[in-house]
């Protein structure tokens, strides 16, 4: 094959394209999508690159179909992905739920834009955080990563695929318009250095295999369509055989496993980048593009002698409650910087449990947070002004 799957080397590309390259490096060979600003470039890159390396790009009739198609392809044994923005993300909710209930590995990239509704299609926001967590109906757990640069779009997409294959669920990339459309240096390592995780295969014969009987860590080995296991996969609540089980006992058993496989492994899933936490009095918590504004503000504060610190959430879901609880105990104030009316701040307050006051620095979308805005909030907090 002339074209390479992993374009080792240094590139100057935007976040959307970096997401595509990351997916291909992770082994993604199927993309079903629908054009939507600001995520279209992911689809365009995929439509160019996938045929070169033996994959398939298909533009479906809508985002509902795109999400259904990547679930189907995943059950066909091919790593698959879609990308969209707010409006399409809303349409994908039901089938994301199907992916969670049937434990289907795949990746959904949401390059967020300002909402509600059509909103500001070409301008940044981070208003889909709670939708990513609770958008589908019913109770479930989700994994969501929030890249802050094209380089992280590349790295986090690989991690998203590995997490989805290991924990067997759709993993969401919560990027935003600025990251998606920003062009920066992206370093692609040699193929051998990229760690790839593939789904766990059944080790027993067809007669003994139960598609939804989990190993001790709560994760069930996955037989693909055509492997000869004659599996039944349904969105109905099901037992270990995968057969519909229409009672509260089966529901308790199934949903407990779907939730625990994420919650019990959250230490392995959660990852944050922390700055100056050891002596910080005012700690800014942020993610995505807002984490870069916060980084600037924290460094400016340090120059002014203010003991500021930063927690950058690489994984936004599951939320790092334990870390926040510990830091809140030793902080004067914690500040959430995000581009929405206050969503992750609710999680921050919940995790802080009143151990310290929590502030929000935000706007409703359309522009990134000015570091000065965050800096003034840090300064005010440092002076103990409420």
């Amino acid at each position: 094959m002339s074209a390479k799957e992993v374009k080792t080397g240094i590139h100057f590309i935007n976040g959307d394209e970096a997401c595509c390259e990351g997916a291909l490096a992770a082994g993604c060979r199927f993309f079903a999508g629908y054009p939507i600003t600001p995520a279209t470039e992911v689809a365009e890159s995929m439509s160019r690159r996938l045929p070169e390396i033996g994959g398939i790009y298909i533009q479906m009739e809508d985002e509902i179909a795109s999400m259904a198609a990547i679930l189907g392809a995943s059950w066909g044994g091919v790593k698959s992905m879609t990308s969209t923005s707010g409006p399409g993300f809303s349409l994908m909710m039901e089938n994301i739920g199907l992916g969670i209930c049937t434990e289907t590995p795949c990746v959904v990239c949401n390059v967020q834009r300002a909402g509600p509704s059509t909103g500001l299609p070409t301008l940044v926001a981070q208003g889909d955080m709670m939708q990513a967590r609770w958008g589908s109906h019913g109770h479930y757990e989700i994994i969501a990563l929030s890249p802050s640069s094209p380089q992280e779009m590349f790295d986090f997409t690989i991690r998203a695929f590995n997490l989805s294959e290991y924990y067997r669920l759709p993993v969401i990339l919560l990027a935003d318009e600025t990251i998606g459309h920003m062009t920066e240096r992206v370093v692609v390592p040699p193929e051998e250095e990229i760690e790839i995780v593939n789904r766990r295969k059944p080790a027993v014969s067809r007669e003994e295999y139960l598609p939804y009987e989990a190993d001790p860590d709560g994760i069930a080995p996955m037989a693909n369509c055509g492997d000869g296991y004659r599996i039944h996969v349904t969105g109905l609540t099901h037992d270990e055989r995968g057969y519909p089980a229409m009672d509260a006992k089966a529901q308790e058993k199934m949903v407990t496993r779907l939730v625990d496989k994420i919650r019990n492994n959250r230490d392995k899933i959660i990852s944050t980048k922390n700055l100056f936490l050891d002596d910080a009095e005012v700690v800014v918590v942020s993610y995505g593009i807002s984490a870069r504004s916060s980084m600037q503000a924290v460094q400016d504060a340090r120059r002014e002698g203010i003991k500021a610190g930063l927690i950058k959430l690489d994984t936004v879901w599951p939320f790092p409650e334990d870390l926040i609880r510990a830091v809140a105990a030793s902080s004067k104030t914690m500040i959430m910087a995000e581009i929405n009316g206050g969503q992750m701040v609710l999680e921050l307050e919940r995790a802080a449990c009143g151990a310290c006051p929590v502030r929000l620095v935000s706007n409703y979308g359309g522009a990134i947070l000015h570091p000065g805005l965050i800096l003034s909030s840090i300064a005010k907090a440092a002076k103990g002004k409420l």
């Binding site: 033996g54 479906m60 259904a68 189907g72 492997d227 349904t234």
Partner: protein, 293 residues
């Protein structure tokens, strides 16, 4: 008389090999025609010459959707209306797997209508079986896209104010390469149509007019399931190879049955490979586990 209890070394029921017998008897109502269609599907699968490990069934939500749970194949019971896009993804990932999509009139043509017309337009290599019982059975008998004008349902107590689709005409218009319609009673013709549809490359569509005694039949005073079976059969007129536009589906006058479309047309995969100028061996090596890494 031989009954299962008294029989000694009798062969099992011929369909049992592809039935998840641990889940039989199934949930469908007494006299519902879905079981008959299901039996025809199993027969066609058994005689298709395809290795059952290489056949998958995808179904949507509704009474017919439950069929995936009873067939001993790789089967996927997806969300309402989304069987076809799911099957599209599955087919593109497993080009050599034969995929059968089974669902009802509401699932395929109301909520799933957009996906149906596009899957047919693309000529995805799928076999679609529509069990048309003229209403939404699972939810208790509401009006659907196939409910006849004036028919009583729980949501049209004064009679349906809408004229239904002609599914075969719609499928043909969207580009399906094989279109046929039978009533549930004409099981032998149905079996041959399903077998032909399975062998057909591209988007094949078979519609079966099926009695729904509990909901549609009861509310429209159509008598027992048996009487409904005979009624639909009585109304049916076999006219194969006519223009699907004229294959009218009107239970008050005549239900035109037969095979209406049987043409050849390149599938999505044919175009995809040609357009991307890929030679298929290299293109086929797309599965992660087949690759060295």
């Amino acid at each position: 008389m031989i009954t299962a209890k008294t029989a000694k070394n009798l062969p099992p029921h011929p369909m049992d090999s592809l039935l998840r017998t641990e889940r039989i008897p199934h949930i469908w109502c007494p006299g519902c025609g879905i079981g008959t269609v299901f039996s025809a599907v199993i027969h066609s699968v058994k005689n298709s010459g395809w290795d059952p490990n290489n056949i998958a069934m995808v179904s949507g939500i509704g009474c017919t959707g439950r069929m995936a749970g009873y067939i001993r194949l790789d089967s996927f019971h997806t969300t309402h209306g989304r069987a076809l896009p799911f099957a599209t993804g599955l087919k593109l990932a497993k080009p050599d797997t034969k995929i059968i999509v089974v669902s009802g009139d509401g699932d395929l043509f109301a909520i799933g209508g957009n996906h149906f017309i596009h899957a047919a337009r693309r000529n995805m290599d799928l076999t679609v079986i529509c069990v048309n019982n003229l209403n939404y059975g699972m939810t208790g008998g509401q009006q659907g896209p196939s409910t006849p004008l004036g028919a009583k349902t729980t949501t049209t107590v004064n009679g349906s104010p809408e004229e239904p689709f002609n599914f075969c005409y719609l499928a043909a218009a969207c580009g399906a390469t094989y279109v046929a319609r039978w009533t549930a009673m004409q099981v032998r013709s149905l079996r041959s149509s399903i077998s032909e549809a399975l062998d057909k490359r591209g988007f094949s569509f078979v519609e079966v007019i099926t009695p729904c005694p509990s909901s549609f039949g009861r509310r429209n005073r159509m008598g027992t399931a048996l009487e409904m079976l005979k009624f639909y059969h009585g109304r049916s007129v076999i006219r194969s190879d006519i223009d699907p536009r004229d294959a009218s589906m009107d239970i008050d006058r005549e239900i035109v049955v037969g095979k209406f479309v049987d043409i050849e047309r390149p599938t999505f995969m044919d175009h995809y490979e040609k357009v991307n100028r890929l030679n298929s061996p290299q293109w086929r090596a797309m599965h992660p586990d087949q690759k060295a890494r």
